[in-house]
């Protein structure tokens, strides 16, 4: 009788654990689906390469799920961006080393003349070609200006403005104090104002 009760209790506990794990998995899926596109664009602005940005985002997803999946969901956003920013920093370090080595071996690449079917497809939102061009130019100016910011300013600006993290969340994501976030952010805004003043009115 006692053994039967024990088996029933263990079975219930394992079912509850399984249900909880499934619920957590679904929560993580929703969270990642919500942030992935913005995260991709943020990484892309930082590294200026979509494929590399996709890899960085996927790595960040894996690390978040594996290491912090059990944490409270409110903590996920700063942690996810912290992992992503670390990945971006590592990518820049590796790139710097690779460039130093490869500068001796690389030849000038011929200009890419391939026709990109995806890039030339009609705009999915249905904007006119003029609007698209204007937006595309504005986005390009902004991307270059943000990319040229010093790294920490870039991180603070993108996390605060694009991802909408608050100062505390940005501090966690950047691994620094809230005061440093404010300083980096303020400097970034001033630098962007000077750079984009002529293009954006």
């Amino acid at each position: 009788m006692t053994a039967g009760i024990t088996v029933f209790a263990v079975s219930c506990t394992s079912k509850e654990t399984g249900a909880r794990a499934l619920q957590k998995q679904q929560q993580l899926d929703r969270f990642l689906a919500e942030v992935e596109r913005r995260a991709l664009r943020i990484a892309e602005i930082a590294v200026r390469d979509r494929d590399e940005a996709l890899d960085l985002v996927q790595d960040a997803m894996i690390k978040l799920v594996r290491s912090y999946g059990g944490r409270d969901s409110a903590e996920w956003a700063p942690l996810f961006y912290r992992i992503l920013q670390n990945g971006v920093r590592d990518w820049h370090r590796r790139q710097a080393v690779r460039n130093r080595v490869m500068v001796w071996f690389t030849k000038a690449k011929p200009e890419d003349t391939d026709y990109d079917v995806v890039a030339s497809a009609p705009d999915p939102i249905g904007r006119s070609p003029d609007e698209e061009l204007q937006n595309s130019q504005a986005m390009q100016d902004m991307e270059i200006a943000v990319h040229e910011l010093p790294r920490r300013q870039q991180e603070a600006f993108m996390l605060r403005t694009f991802e909408g993290l608050d100062v505390a969340g940005t501090a966690v994501a950047m691994g620094c104090s809230e005061g440093s976030v404010k300083t980096h952010y303020s400097r970034a805004v001033h630098a962007l104002r000077d750079k984009l003043r002529e293009h954006w009115r």
Binding site: L32, A33, E36, R37, R41, R50, I62, N135, M142
Partner: protein, 113 residues
Amino acid sequence: MNKTDETLLQQTKEAFDQSVDGLDAATLSRLNRGRQAALTEAAQPHRQWLRWIPATGVAAAVFLTVLTIQGPGDIEVISAPAADLELLLGEESIEMLEDLEFYSWLETQEDES
């Protein structure tokens, strides 16, 4: 923060949001696949030792390179007669190892005689 800064930030955010909304289907599909792969991969047990495989491979490659460059001259090579190798590699050698004490005693007897 003055009004110019606020306008600038608003415009910047709008441009960014538009670029996010305008991501093409191929990229969205890759993101989705990446997310599913991350969730699946992370659900599997993490095997720490797997991360040492590349490092071990590199270490072995470096060792072999050094060995090739320096040559066997710097390393003491112990030569074993072919008969010994045959003995060691043969199936009967395992049985012989079990009676090692007996063979040791036998050798001392032969020396004495």
